[in-house]
C-alpha cells in the first residue's frame, strides 16, 4: 500500500515471528522426548524469545516508518470467485502491541514453566502445546483478515483445551480435568458459532474478509448514510441508503452492523469469558498454573477484546451493540467480582478476578474507549500473569511442605517426588471450591490450608503483594491508571446516556470487590499464623521460577507509564501509538473519578483488613461465613452452573435420552425398522412365497408336468412291444399319407 523503502528489512521479517515458535513445535515433536527435561523447555523458551525479538524489531520498524501500517503477503490461501484470502500479516501499532505482549509474557511464562513442570512425565508435550499456542496466538493477532484471525482463534481454543486437560488422568473421579477441558471446548463452540455467523455476514455485506477492505466498505457506507441523513427528515432515513444504490430493499447498514457486532460479541463472550459464557474459565484452572497464567489470564482470553478493538469501524456503526457490549462487560465485571469474594481456592479467586477484569476491558471496548481497553489488557496481562505465577509458586511451596512433612513422618518421599506430585495440586481446582473444611484429602490450593506464608516465601510474598495492589488499583501501580481510564470513560458516557451510569456504577462496585478479594487473599495466604503443618513447612521456589515473577512485578509497577494522563510529560503514549491503527477519542484524566476509585479501592482493602487482617483467622472457618446465605450464594458462584445444568444441560440430556430411547430405539428401531420394514418385508416375502410362488408359479409348472405325464402315459399304450402292431401302424401311416396325396392335394 505504500513504498516500504526504509522499513522493508524490518516489517518483512514479520513471518518469522510465527516461524520460530513453529520450529519449536516441530523440533520438540521430533526430538523433544529424547531431549527431555529441561532441554525441551529451553528450546521452546528460546523460540518464544526469538519471536519476542522479532516483535521488538517490528516495534522499531514502525517507529522508523512513521507508524505506517504495512501488509506482508506470503501467499494466496483461498481464492474462490470474489473471495480472496491471503496468508498475510498486518503490521500496525495494534497488532504489534499484541505481538509484543504475547511473545513477551509468553517467553517469561515459558521460562517459569521449565521450573514448574520439572519432573512431569509429559514435560516435552507441555512445551509443544505452549509453542503451538504462541503460533496460533500470533496468527490471531497478526493476520490481516478475519479468516486468519479465526484460524488463530480456533487454534488457541484447541491449545487451551489440550492444556486444561493436560493432566487428563487427574481431577475428580480421574476425569475431572478432562471434563473441564471438554467444558471449555464446548462453551467456546457456542461463541465460535456466533463468530462464524458474523464472518459470513461481513463477507456477505462487504464482499471481503480482509480487514482494510471490509472496513473501507463500512466507512463509506457510514459516510453515505451521513450525507443522506443530513437533509432528509429522520423518519425517512431508514430505507434510503439501500435504495440509493438501486439495490432491492434490504436492511440498512446500521441494522447489518448491529447484527454483525452482536454476533461478534457472542464470539468475544465465548473466548473472553463474558456473561453468559464465562463458566468455562474457572474450570480451566484445572490446567497447569503456567497455562492459567498465559492462556487463561494474559493472552488468549484477551482475544475477544482484540477482536472488538480491531473491528471498531463496524462497532461505530452500531450504537445499540456498543451499549450491549458495555453492559455485558460491566455486568460480568460485577458478577465475577462478587463470586471471587466467596472462593477458597487460590486459583479460582484469580480466575473469577480475570473474568471480572475482562469485563472491564469489554466494557471499555463497548464504550469506544479502545485505548483504555488495550491499556487495561496490557497492564492486566502483567499483573494477572504475575499473580497466577506467584500462586503457582505458593501452591508449589505448600505442596512441598506437605510432602516434606510426610517425609519426616513416614519417610520415602524424596525431593523429586514432591515435584512429580505437584501435578495433582492444580487438578484439585475442579472440585476444590465446594469442598468442605473437613475433607480428608489435603488440598494445596485451598487458602484455608495456608496462612503466614510471608515468612517462608519472602520473594513470592512481595511479588504477590505488588500484583495484588496493582490489581486492586492503588496509585501509582499499573492497575490504577488503566482501570481509572475505563472508569473515566464510563463517567463521560454516563453524563450523556443513562446506560453509562449503570456501567459506571457496576464497574465501580466491581473495583471495590476487586480490592476486597485481593486483600482477603493476601491476608489469608501470607499473614497471620500457619493453619496447617504443610504451610509451616512450605519453602521458597527455585530462581528459575522466581526470575519471571520479579520481571513481571517490575512491569506491574511501571506498566502504568504506558499511558499516563496527558498533563504528565510523555503521557498518553499508548493512545498516540494505538491512534495509528484505531480511531481514538481521548477522554483525559478525571480527578473526581480518580479520587472515587482510589477511595473505593482503599475502602475495599481496609474492609478486608478489618475482616481478615486485624484478627487473623486461625481456624478453617472464614469470617465471611457469618453472612450466611449471602456467602453461600457467592461461594456457590451464584449457582450459574446449576442454572445452566437445569435449563440447558438437563433438557438437552432429557431430549437426548428421549431421542435415543423413544425416537431411535422405540420408534425408529422397534417400530419403523422392526415393524414396518422388517415386518413389511416378511409379509411381502410371505406373499411372494405363498401366493405368487406356490399359488401361481408352482401350480403352473406342476400342472404342466402333470399334463406331460398324463399325455405320456396315454401315448405309452401305443408301444405294445408287438412288431405286428407297429407294422400295422406303419400301414395306417402309409395309407394316411397316400390318402392325403391322392385325395386332399
Amino acid at each position: 500500500m505504500h513504498d516500504s523503502s526504509t522499513a522493508f528489512s524490518l516489517s518483512s521479517l514479520v513471518p518469522l515471528i510465527v516461524v520460530f515458535p513453529l520450529l519449536g513445535v516441530i523440533l520438540n515433536m521430533l526430538v523433544g522426548k529424547r531431549l527431555g527435561d529441561p532441554w525441551a523447555g529451553i528450546i521452546a523458551s528460546l523460540m518464544s524469545g526469538l519471536a519476542f525479538v522479532i516483535a521488538v524489531l517490528q516495534f522499531i520498524g514502525l517507529f522508523l516508518d512513521n507508524f505506517h501500517a504495512t501488509t506482508i503477503t506470503l501467499a494466496e490461501w483461498i481464492v474462490i470467485g470474489t473471495l480472496k484470502i491471503p496468508w498475510a500479516f498486518q503490521v500496525d501499532t495494534l497488532s504489534v502491541t499484541m505481538m509484543l505482549l504475547v511473545t513477551g509474557v509468553g517467553t517469561l511464562i515459558h521460562v517459569y514453566a521449565i521450573g514448574y513442570m520439572k519432573g512431569d512425565e509429559r514435560f516435552h508435550r507441555f512445551f509443544i502445546y505452549l509453542n503451538l499456542f504462541i503460533v496460533m496466538m500470533l496468527f490471531l493477532v497478526g493476520g490481516n483478515n478475519y479468516l486468519m484471525l479465526f484460524l488463530g482463534w480456533e487454534g488457541v481454543g484447541l491449545c487451551s483445551y489440550l492444556l486444561i486437560g493436560f493432566w487428563f488422568d487427574k481431577g475428580a473421579n480421574g476425569v475431572g480435568n478432562a471434563r473441564a477441558g471438554r467444558k471449555a471446548f464446548v462453551v467456546n463452540r457456542v461463541g465460535d458459532f456466533g463468530f462464524v455467523l458474523a464472518l459470513f455476514l461481513i463477507f456477505w455485506t462487504s464482499g471481503s474478509l480482509i480487514f482494510n477492505d471490509s472496513f473501507k466498505y463500512f466507512e463509506e457506507k457510514a459516510k453515505e448514510h451521513a450525507t443522506v441523513t443530513a437533509p432528509a427528515p429522520a423518519k425517512a432515513v431508514e430505507a434510503k441508503p439501500a435504495e440509493g444504490h438501486g439495490e432491492s430493499e434490504g436492511p440498512t447498514t446500521e441494522q447489518i452492523a448491529t447484527a454483525i457486532t452482536l454476533l461478534l460479541l457472542v464470539g468475544a463472550a465465548g473466548k473472553s469469558a463474558q456473561i453468559p459464557l464465562f463458566i468455562w474459565l474457572p474450570d480451566a484452572m484445572a490446567g497447569p498454573t503456567p497455562v492459567s497464567a498465559l492462556i487463561h489470564a494474559a493472552t488468549m482470553v484477551t482475544a475477544g477484546i482484540y477482536m472488538i478493538v480491531r473491528s471498531n469501524v463496524i462497532f461505530h456503526l452500531a450504537p445499540t451493540s456498543q451499549m450491549v457490549v458495555a453492559l455485558v462487560g460491566a455486568s460480568t465485571a460485577f458478577l465475577a467480582g462478587s463470586i471471587a469474594m466467596g472462593q477458597f481456592d487460590i486459583k479460582r479467586v484469580l480466575a473469577y478476578s480475570t473474568i471480572s477484569q475482562l469485563g472491564f476491558m469489554i466494557a471499555a471496548a463497548g464504550m469506544g474507549a479502545y485505548v483504555a481497553a488495550m491499556f487495561h489488557l496490557l497492564t492486566h496481562a502483567f499483573f494477572k500473569a504475575l499473580l497466577f505465577l506467584s500462586s503457582g509458586s505458593v501452591i508449589h511451596g505448600v505442596e512441598h511442605g506437605h510432602h516434606a512433612l510426610h517425609a519426616h513422618g513416614g519417610g520415602g518421599h524424596d525431593h523429586h517426588d514432591a515435584h512429580a506430585h505437584n501435578a495433582q495440586s492444580d487438578s484439585h481446582a475442579a472440585q476444590a471450591s465446594a469442598a468442605s473444611p473437613d475433607h480428608h484429602e489435603f488440598d494445596p490450593q485451598d487458602m484455608r490450608n495456608m496462612g503466614g506464608l510471608r515468612k517462608q516465601m519472602n520473594v513470592t510474598f512481595w511479588v504477590y503483594l505488588i500484583g495484588a495492589i496493582a490489581l486492586a488499583g492503588v496509585f501509582p501501580f499499573a492497575g490504577f491508571w488503566s482501570k481509572d481510564e475505563i472508569l473515566a470513560d464510563a463517567w463521560l458516557i454516563g453524563s450523556k446516556q443513562p446506560y453509562g451510569v449503570a456501567v459506571y456504577v457496576l464497574l465501580s462496585v466491581a473495583a471495590f470487590f476487586t480490592a476486597f478479594y485481593m486483600g482477603r487473599q493476601v491476608f489469608m495466604v501470607f499473614f497471620g499464623g500457619e493453619r496447617t503443618d504443610a504451610a509451616k513447612h512450605a519453602h521458597e521456589s527455585s530462581w528459575v521460577m522466581l526470575t519471571p515473577l520479579v520481571i513481571l512485578a517490575v512491569l506491574s509497577v511501571i506498566g502504568g507509564a504506558l499511558n499516563l494522563p496527558k498533563f504528565i510529560p510523555g503521557g498518553e503514549a499508548l493512545g498516540k501509538w494505538i491512534e495509528h491503527s484505531v480511531e481514538v477519542h481521548a477522554v483525559g484524566f478525571n480527578l473526581t473519578v480518580a479520587l472515587i476509585s482510589t477511595g473505593v479501592g482503599l475502602f475495599g482493602i481496609f474492609l478486608s483488613y478489618l475482616v481478615y487482617g486485624r484478627s487473623p483467622m486461625m481456624t478453617m472457618t472464614d469470617p465471611l461465613e457469618r453472612l450466611g446465605f449471602v456467602f453461600r450464594f457467592l461461594n456457590g458462584k451464584w449457582y450459574v452452573d446449576e442454572l445452566y445444568q437445569a435449563i440447558i444441560i438437563r433438557p438437552i440430556e432429557g431430549f437426548a435420552t428421549f431421542a435415543a430411547f423413544a425416537l431411535d430405539w422405540d420408534l425408529w428401531h422397534d417400530f419403523f425398522h422392526d415393524t414396518i420394514i422388517a415386518g413389511g418385508f416378511r409379509w411381502f416375502s410371505g406373499f411372494l412365497a405363498g401366493f405368487v410362488d406356490k399359488g401361481i408359479v408352482d401350480r403352473f409348472f406342476d400342472g404342466l408336468g402333470g399334463f406331460v405325464r398324463e399325455t405320456a402315459l396315454n401315448f405309452r399304450e401305443f408301444q405294445t412291444g408287438y412288431v405286428r402292431n407297429y407294422a400295422l401302424m406303419v400301414l395306417f401311416g402309409v395309407v394316411a399319407v397316400l390318402g392325403y396325396f391322392l385325395f386332399v392335394r
Binding site: R716, Q719, T720, G721, Y722, V723, R724, L728, L731
Partner: protein
C-alpha cells in the same frame, strides 16, 4: 404284348399279400418272406413301368432308372436278409422260438 396294367395289378396283389403276411403271421421267417414279397412286388412295378416308358432302341434315362433302381432294391434286400436272418437266429437262441409275439419286452 401284355399290357402294363396287368403287371401293376399283379404287383399290387403281391404287395397286398406281403402286407397281410407281415400283419397276420407270427412266424418270423414267414414275416420275413412277406417283406421280401413286398420288395419284389415293388421291383415288378419298377420293371413294368420301365418297359412301358421304353420307346424305340435308344437308351432312355427314364426307363433305365427304373431298371437300375431294381438292382438297388435287390442289394438292399440281400443286406436286409443277412441282418434279419442273423436277428432271427439270435432270437431263437434266446427264446427257442421264432414267434414274433414272444419278443415284446420293449413295451411301454
Amino acid at each position: 404284348m401284355v399290357p402294363t396294367s396287368y403287371y401293376i395289378l399283379l404287383s399290387a396283389i403281391l404287395f397286398t399279400i406281403g402286407v397281410v403276411g407281415v400283419l397276420v403271421r407270427r412266424n418270423a421267417i414267414i414275416v420275413f418272406m412277406s417283406v421280401e414279397l413286398m420288395l419284389n412286388s415293388a421291383n415288378l412295378a419298377f420293371v413294368a413301368f420301365a418297359r412301358a416308358f421304353q420307346t424305340g432302341e435308344a437308351v432312355n434315362a427314364a426307363a433305365m432308372s427304373g431298371q437300375v433302381f431294381v438292382f438297388f432294391v435287390m442289394t438292399v434286400a440281400a443286406a436286409e436278409v443277412a441282418v434279419g436272418l442273423a436277428l432271427i437266429v439270435a432270437i431263437f437262441k434266446n427264446k427257442h422260438s421264432i414267434d414274433v409275439d414272444q419278443v415284446h419286452q420293449l413295451k411301454g
